[in-house]
Symmetry: none
Subunit: 126 residues, 2 copies
């Protein structure tokens, strides 16, 4: 919709302990038994995904132009209150599935496709 968008903005990524990239070391799940710590990391990521609203949010963002969407366009289709949507977006961002960038009063969330790819990869048992 808005054409002159400044894409050169610096995007702050708030990486928490349970970010997808933190699991980058893990081998596919069951070559050997998972250690407790690895299991906890992976479980935290899955937990971030295991909510209908968050899956819908991811889905909408992924289907949007440039795999990016404004919060204002997310609230209505989800059908939850604005604080709740904001909360879910935060969870997804902290888990590394989305990144946030603010332009004006609007906040845009963009998909991190590698995050989902990595999740899928980690779920593959040999």
């Amino acid at each position: 919709m808005d054409v002159n968008i400044d894409y050169h903005r610096y995007m702050p990524t708030a990486l928490s302990l349970t970010d997808v990239s933190a699991a980058a070391c893990c081998a596919p799940l069951a070559e050997a038994a998972l250690e407790r710590t690895e299991a906890e990391t992976l479980a935290a990521l899955l937990k971030g995904l295991a909510d209908p609203a968050r899956l819908q949010l991811l889905s909408i963002v992924a289907a949007s132009e440039g795999q990016e969407a404004c919060v204002c366009d997310l609230i209505e289709p989800i059908g939850l209150s604005q604080p709740t949507v904001s909360h879910h977006l935060k969870v997804l961002t902290e888990a590394g599935f989305l990144t946030r960038s603010k332009r004006g009063t609007w906040a845009y969330y963009r998909l991190v496709p590698e995050a989902l790819s990595r999740m899928a990869e980690l779920l593959q048992f040999p």
Copy 2:
């Protein structure tokens, strides 16, 4: 002027754990936006996976001979009580990730590899 946002109430859906096969119809996640029902189904599956103990259980079973293991061999490595392990195995089974077969007094749980493959597939965004 006035805030005419239509806040929807949260509906406590007591959805029982859905089997992976029930999601067999769903297309990869984000070609179009996920419907509420699909999101709930997928979320239920992810929730079944989103626990460290359950991931470890899956991992051990997957690494066992014939991708099958006896409960008696699962309790000690997990480090939780027998009822708790039994509970987790039930969750995994109801979600379709394991199948159960009893031989004598022992219960054997076997991996359903397609279940995990399908999960991974559903997580792929184009």
